[in-house]
Each structure stands twice: as structure tokens, then as C-alpha cells.
């Protein structure tokens, strides 16, 4: 399961907690929340205006390091990384992090100031 990081709006009118089935979230205004289920994350974004935070290299690396090598190889193959079977665990993690990080873009998206 992936870790989905969500920014909780700084809104005192938000409920204290929310659940759907076994999914549960405490909403601390202005805080950050990590959920593992995509459908629940989408629900929180839709209903309570939480914002999804980008996955940083650090977070992604930490998540990937919990996986076994076989799982990393599978992920690497599906990400189009060549010779994935021959890479060591740290190399697999670094390769996956690099393909998952969007290239840095200009903060003003190229618009004229």
C-alpha cells in the first residue's frame, strides 16, 4: 500500500474525525495526514477539501526501503527500468525514486512576470 500525504486545511469548522468502513482519519486543522487507501484519500479530498501533497524523494525512498527486493524488481520492471534483476536493493530504490520524481519546473510555470 502506498502512503498518501494529505494537507488538512486550516479550518476550525472541520470535523474532529471521519471514518468510512475501517478507514479512519483525525482531522487536525493545518496538520498533515497520511492515509494508505486511494479511495479514502479521494473521499477526504472531495468532502473535506484536503490537498494531496507531492511524494518527496525522501518519503518515497523510505516507503520503498520497506519492500523486499523481488517486489522492488517488479516495480522497477513496470517502471521501465532496464536490467532491474541485476541491481542491488539500494540501486533499485534510487532508480525508482529518480523515475518517480517530476523534473523541477519553473515556479511561475513559464508565465511572464
Amino acid at each position: 500500500m502506498e502512503n498518501i500525504r494529505l494537507q488538512i486545511p486550516d479550518d476550525e469548522n472541520l470535523p474532529n474525525e471521519v471514518n468510512q468502513g475501517n478507514h479512519f482519519a483525525e482531522l487536525v486543522p493545518g496538520g498533515e495526514l497520511v492515509v494508505k487507501d486511494r479511495a479514502f484519500a479521494d473521499f477526504l479530498i472531495r468532502e473535506f477539501k484536503l490537498e494531496e501533497l507531492p511524494t518527496t524523494a525522501e518519503n518515497l525512498s523510505a516507503d520503498l526501503s520497506k519492500l523486499k527486493v523481488a517486489a522492488l524488481v517488479e516495480k522497477a520492471k513496470s517502471a521501465g527500468i532496464e536490467n532491474a534483476e541485476k541491481l542491488k536493493k539500494t540501486e533499485l530504490i534510487n532508480a525508482l525514486v529518480s523515475v518517480n520524481q517530476p523534473a523541477e519546473t519553473d515556479s511561475n510555470n513559464g508565465e511572464e512576470e
Binding site: P15, N16, E17, V18, N19, Q20, G21, N22, H23, F24, D37, A39, F40, D42, F43
Partner: protein, 357 residues
């Protein structure tokens, strides 16, 4: 010594997910204070080779394929306990009422099937003496019926459908044993039918609270559970782990459809306005409220059911306690704008049901 009705005791504890039984520990389970004398209805689902092509009279072989277990209970309408059944059946959003510190407003709506179809499960235990001491893990509720009648306390009927597993003689202890597994309930607040009011609103002239005309009500929230699909051969989930001969148990118990039906009785009024609603099949918003004692400041215990779009299906005169009343029944329709079938707002002093049982 014989065991009598007063010996019966029941309790439950919320599980973190469907599969994981609540660990048995001091105070981990909470009493269910019910009014009935029901016990677990367990069935072994068997297969046999009786009809197979043996060619001559042969000894029949029979085996266990799966297990099934369920139980029904009725609890009084305690402001704190009603929420536990709603919590199992619906999604809860918790907020603190303005000016409140101890009080919480729980807003329950049917679980959103685009998020999950697996509602919460409990580990359920019951005991009627040394002869019947059982634990049923992974029990899911298939809805509830809330009703109020006459001068009585509101009542809530619900059932629990288990994974099929029953644990015989679990290490569960009840009060008055010292440091028991089960904690008894205390500090409960009752809702009476005398606190209930119903207000219909068709957006026109039919929008006045029933007030003294009100007599009784019932709402029934039903979920059809995917009971057979819950037995997943690929999960290889058996009564005795790793032993297919011991019979399968469920690996999940998801819901399919959700629906809400209601009925209520009111004294007749001139020109039968309710009959007109049936005849016109008019969409009506219905609000059923019970408001009572103070939790803190000016915040009362409150129970409010809102059906955004309801349609009356039948309205017929009925003789009750010697007077003619209208017995009205109908169904809630899904409100696309509000994105829900109905909602229950329950204000009480339970901070979070996630840790209440």
C-alpha cells in the same frame, strides 16, 4: 445450579479490520445491555456424496464445507449505545458542538461504496452460564430498526453476521470477576418516545410538525450483505488454520445494496393530508427528532433523523388503542444533491466510537 434469564450476558469489541479478532485483555470488551434472550444461531454447512454414482448402496460420507453464525439483539435507545450500532453500519463524522467540551455531534450517513463496501466488524461474546460461553469474531451488522411507541423507551433491533467461526470457552471474564475482560456500561441516557417529534415538508402546505398527532415511528435501514461471496476459496481461510477439512470461514463480508424504509402512526386530520401525499406520490422531507437532557451548558442529548426525499407508499386507517389513526409507510430515496440516502445526527458525550467499544 440452573442458569436462568438473569445469567445471560453479552459484550462486543470493535476490530481494527474484518479479519483480526479483538485481543482478549482486561477491559477490552464492552457490555451489550439488551432486552432480548437471543443467542448465537450457528450452522455448519455440509456437503455429502449421497447422490454420487456409487453403483450400489454405499455408506454416505458427509463433510463440513463452511460455517455460518449470526445473532439478533434489541437494545434500549441509550444516547451512547445507539451510536455503536450506527457506527458499525454507517460512516461517522465527529464534531464538537459550539461551546462544548464534553459533548460531541456524530453525523452518520450510509457508507460510501466508492470508498469501501466493508463496514466495521466486532468480536462478539455471549454467556448464559458455564454451558454456553462463546466468542464470535468478525461480526458485521446488516442494518438496524429504530422504533418508538407509546410511553416507552426507544428500541433498536440489529443483527450481527459472523465469519462463521465460533470460539468455545474463550478466556473472557465478566463482572463481578476482578479485572474482567468485559466492562459494564454506566452513565447512560435514555430517549423516550415522548421526546420524539416528526416534521414533514413537501415544500408547500404540508410542512407542520405532527406535534400532538404523533403516536409512533419506525425506521429500518437495511444492507444486503454479500454473504456467499465472503467465502473466498483463494484465501484458504479455515476454522482451523491450514486445515480445509475443518470448513471454510469468511474472509470478508461486504454490503451490496442499502435502503431505508419507515412507517409511523399519527392521529387523523381533516381531509387526510397524508392520503393526498400518497395519491400524488409527492416527495417529502422528513425530520424525526428526539431531544432531551443537558450534557453541558445548553447542549442537550439529541437524536435527529433526516430523510431528504421520502415518498409515502401507503396510508391507511388503523384502529389503535381504541382510536383511528393513519398508519403511514414509505421509503427514503437517494438524494443526489445531498449525496446521501438519509442521515442521523446524534449528540451525546461519546468522544469517539473508534475507542468506545
Amino acid at each position: 445450579m440452573s442458569d436462568t434469564a438473569t445469567n445471560r450476558k453479552y459484550a462486543w469489541a470493535l476490530q481494527t479490520d474484518y479479519a483480526t479478532q479483538k485481543a482478549i485483555a482486561a477491559g477490552a470488551y464492552k457490555q451489550i445491555l439488551c432486552t432480548d434472550e437471543n443467542t448465537i444461531d450457528y450452522q455448519a454447512q455440509i456437503g455429502s456424496n449421497e447422490g454420487w454414482a456409487h453403483g450400489y448402496n454405499t455408506e454416505t460420507e458427509e463433510w463440513i464445507e463452511a460455517h455460518d453464525a449470526r445473532v439478533q439483539h434489541t437494545i434500549p435507545g441509550f444516547a451512547q449505545e445507539l451510536g455503536k450500532v450506527y457506527y458499525l453500519n454507517m460512516a461517522d463524522t465527529v464534531s464538537t458542538p459550539s461551546g462544548g467540551t464534553l459533548s460531541r455531534k456524530h453525523t452518520f450517513v450510509p457508507t460510501d461504496p466508492t470508498v469501501t463496501r466493508q463496514d466495521k466488524a466486532v468480536s462478539y461474546v455471549e454467556n448464559v452460564g458455564a454451558g454456553w460461553h462463546k466468542l464470535m469474531p468478525s461480526a458485521v451488522s446488516d442494518g438496524f430498526t429504530l422504533r418508538g411507541d407509546g410511553r416507552g423507551v426507544l428500541m433498536l433491533d440489529f443483527s450481527l453476521v459472523g465469519a462463521g467461526k465460533i470460539v468455545n470457552d474463550p478466556a473472557i471474564t465478566y463482572p463481578p470477576t476482578s479485572t474482567p475482560t468485559v466492562t459494564n456500561l454506566s452513565g447512560l441516557y435514555k430517549f423516550y418516545n415522548t421526546q420524539v417529534g416528526i416534521t414533514p415538508n413537501d415544500g408547500g402546505s404540508y410542512n407542520t410538525a405532527y406535534s400532538c398527532r404523533y403516536r409512533s415511528f419506525q425506521i429500518a435501514f437495511r444492507k444486503t450483505l454479500l454473504e456467499e461471496a465472503g467465502f473466498k476459496p483463494g484465501c484458504a481461510n479455515f476454522l482451523t488454520a491450514g486445515n480445509p477439512d475443518s470448513g471454510m470461514i469468511r474472509s470478508a463480508l461486504e454490503f451490496d445494496k442499502q435502503s431505508l424504509e419507515f412507517n409511523f402512526n399519527v392521529d387523523m386530520a381533516a381531509n387526510s393530508p397524508e392520503f393526498q401525499c400518497v395519491q400524488d406520490q409527492r416527495p417529502i422531507a422528513l425530520v424525526i427528532t428526539a431531544s432531551g437532557g443537558i450534557i453541558e451548558g445548553a447542549i442537550p442529548f439529541e437524536h435527529k433523523v433526516t430523510l431528504n426525499i421520502a415518498k409515502y407508499r401507503t396510508t391507511k386507517p388503523q384502529l389503535v388503542n381504541g382510536i383511528w389513526q393513519f398508519a403511514i409507510s414509505g421509503k427514503a430515496l437517494f438524494d443526489k444533491v445531498a449525496n446521501k440516502l438519509f442521515q442521523i445526527e446524534l449528540t451525546n458525550d461519546v468522544v469517539s466510537y473508534a475507542s468506545a467499544f
